[in-house]
Amino acid sequence: MTEEIIIAGFGGQGVLSMGKILAYSGIMQDKEVAWMPSYGPEMRGGTANVTVIISDERISSPILQKFDTAIVLNQQSLDKFEEQIKVGGTLVYDPNGITKEPTRKDINIYKIEGNALATELGNAKTFNMIILGAFMKVKPILSLEDVEKGLGKSLPERHHKLIPMNMKAVQCGMDNIKVVQEL
């Protein structure tokens, strides 16, 4: 099993830490993982994206041109990464701020109203965990248990009390993902 994922959005949306939790969850399952961020001089506001690879085998290149799954959280990212999804691959996106909907016919497409749901949950910071949940639903490569462990590993001790809230958000994402197109 090898899953090659790109997560892309605005800086500040929690893209990098979502990737980190994914990667940690992979480690919990004794898999090989790689987490490779884009980095640039813009500290805020710019786009941020991270490649996460979870695999049973030694990972060669951490820099990819094609992905199994793209999780995109704004229009720029959709513009850029839609075409980089492998045929038969998966796109998960938040429609908030999306002005041009995805057009590819050869991939699976899912929608998750992360922004709206986070507002509903009353905690904007859970946004990325909702998205993570959505992904987990369509790509159940990791168990919820591992994600919880991954969270524990990636959060500093003093934030562990936030884990239940985060797991609730994950569940919320799993529950609310909508199919746009399934092959």
């Binding site: 480690i27 490779m36 990972i59 820099i63 990636s154």
Partner: protein, 361 residues
């Protein structure tokens, strides 16, 4: 028990330094490696092992702090990225000239000039041929994984002290910024004053004890005969390194008819390219130099009889390819393939390049 963590390459450099008993780190922020110093500052090793961590006023200052600290026989290091390392060249040749063991980490980005902060491997010449003036060599280790970022810190110090020579870890933005699983090394105690006296007492400036004559850390020699003798001494030292310290990895080389030579992040991508080549029916293999200096010249030469061609794959316009050509010495075709400027080659491109530049050429 070994600790497994998910860490960035840069963070691991810091962690490995603390654990291997490093005495001091002196650095200056620059992308894409600032996490090295930031991690150290968060870790506060001065409270734990006594390691000194100082943000210097510049790279020129940090490399000279390294010279000062390392001249005391301490395990001292710095890290930077390409433009910062260019500024360190005078300091680096001083270290080599005074035979001071020390560690410099270069997390390479694209140049020339300010260039880009994205990954590159275009500092091979600077690192392996002497960016500074004079005849000298660095011991150069090229990690291809976060795990090797961990392992090579200790190894660099070991080699540096064995040969009284500065060592460099030549990494790049990919390895520095990516997170992977890493098994951290167990803690080693920092050397005590007595141990330093034992290991480096003949040269380290630890304060002149009554039982020895003064130690002087210098690269100056106004007498040309002595300077020449010193240069020849260095030459013999480098020869010894070439004989004893070459490190490399061979992947799928047993039956290979074509061979990639690539280090660091390029080597990882070549691994995938090998799979693609083999799917295409091309028997490709990879020789990954782990030490860039001393370079695996002999090991490449030994492969030549079974090969039809060699492709040097680098994130540069072609630098290491010189050393590959010198090793092959005209026996079979050698070509270079690489992206530059922060663009990373894809495995497919590499496989294609092997076909067009070597097989069909």
């Amino acid at each position: 028990m070994a600790e497994v963590r998910l860490m960035k390459g840069n963070e691991v450099i810091a962690e490995a330094a603390i654990r291997c008993g490093c005495d001091g780190y002196f650095g200056y922020p620059i992308t894409p490696q600032s996490e090295v110093m930031e991690t150290l500052m968060i870790r506060k090793p001065w409270e734990e092992t006594g390691m000194v961590v100082l943000q210097a006023e510049s790279e020129v200052a940090s490399i000279n702090m390294v010279y000062g600290g390392a001249s005391c026989g301490k395990k001292v290091m710095t890290s930077s990225s390409s433009p910062g390392v260019s500024l360190m060249q005078e300091g680096i040749t001083y270290l080599a000239g005074a035979e001071i063991p020390a560690l410099v980490v270069n997390v390479v980005r694209g140049g020339p000039g300010l260039g880009t902060i994205q990954p590159a491997q275009s500092d091979y010449y600077q690192t392996c041929k002497g960016g500074g003036h004079g005849d000298y060599r660095l011991i150069v280790l090229a990690p291809a994984s976060v795990q090797e970022m961990n392992d090579f810190v200790d190894l660099s110090f070991e080699l540096a002290f064995k040969y009284r020579n500065p060592a460099m870890i030549l990494s790049d933005g990919v390895i520095g910024q990516m997170m992977e699983k890493v098994t951290l090394s167990p803690y080693k105690a920092r050397w005590t004053d007595e141990e330093i006296e034992e290991i480096s007492g003949s040269w380290a400036t630890t304060g002149k004890k009554a039982n020895r004559s003064k130690n002087v850390s210098t690269s100056l020699e106004l007498d040309s005969d002595k300077q020449e003798e010193f240069n020849l001494h260095l030459g013999r030292k480098y020869k010894a390194m070439e004989e004893n310290e070459v490190r490399y990895e061979k992947i799928s080389c047993d039956d290979a008819e074509y061979m990639f030579v690539a280090y660091g992040s390029s080597a990882r991508i070549c691994q995938k390219a090998i799979e693609i080549c083999r799917e295409r029916g091309i028997k490709a293999g990879l020789l990954r130099p782990i030490t860039l200096y001393p370079f695996p010249t002999k090991q490449i030469k030994e492969m030549v009889p079974q090969l039809k061609g060699v492709l040097s794959v680098e994130l540069s316009m072609g630098q290491m390819v010189d050393d590959v050509r010198l090793a092959v010495n005209g026996a079979i075709p050698v070509e270079h393939y690489g992206h530059v400027g922060g663009i990373i080659h894809s495995p497919e491109e590499i496989a294609d390049a092997l076909e067009t530049l070597i097989i069909k050429a």
